[in-house]
Amino acid sequence: GAGVSQSPRYKVAKRGQDVALRCDPISGHVSLFWYQQALGQGPEFLTYFQNEAQLDKSGLPSDRFFAERPEGSVSTLKIQRTQQEDSAVYLCASSLAGGGLGETQYFGPGTRLLVL
């Protein structure tokens, strides 16, 4: 079966450009998470959706970062006025349900963003 997919896989942006990163979760998965992974580091939580509701956005580093999941399936992470420190791999993960005891989160391959 299809796993979590992300697009584009690689994105090069000039400083100040806006970018949009897409995540297609596993079909039927209620929960969707975004993480940021800097080079050589562990992933860090950005934001969490349960269906279309954004329940936690405490990890978003600034108001330049915005995420949405309008129909409870596909999600988009948007970064406005990109800065060099935004360069990282952006990972999307989905899990079947929401709110229960620890569930497996299935990760996509990530989008590698390089801001020049």
Partner: protein, 113 residues
């Protein structure tokens, strides 16, 4: 504040040897502790997970040992194979925080043939 500390940052083991990775956590609300394996250019993939009501869990060559009082847990990879060469991340979560994962810094494992 790093809530999950992982060590070592890297290790080299001979084929057939045992790889041991350790993690320590601070938040006593954590109640789910997965380990993820990540290959270059890929997303993390769940390897094995444990809850604090058990002290050990084994799946094939992979074993998690859990010490609740010490707030520590570890991954043991028995009979390490070259295909195990990857970066391993411990993580922790709690439903109180929406099950978002807090990851350790990662351990790069190299298994020499």
């Amino acid at each position: 504040q790093q809530q999950v500390k992982q060590s070592p940052q890297s290790l080299i083991v001979q084929k057939g040897g045992i790889s041991i990775i350790n993690c320590a956590y601070e938040n006593t609300a954590f109640d789910y502790f997965p380990w993820y394996q990540q290959f270059p250019g890929k997303g993390p993939a769940l390897l094995i997970a444990i809850r604090p009501d058990v002290s050990e869990k084994k799946e094939g060559r992979f074993t998690i040992s859990f010490n609740k009082s010490a707030k520590q847990f570890s991954l043991h990879i028995m009979d390490s194979q070259p295909g195990d060469s990857a970066t391993y991340f411990c993580a922790a979560s709690t439903p109180a925080a929406g099950n978002k994962l807090t990851f350790g810094g990662g351990t790069r494992v190299l298994v020499k043939p």
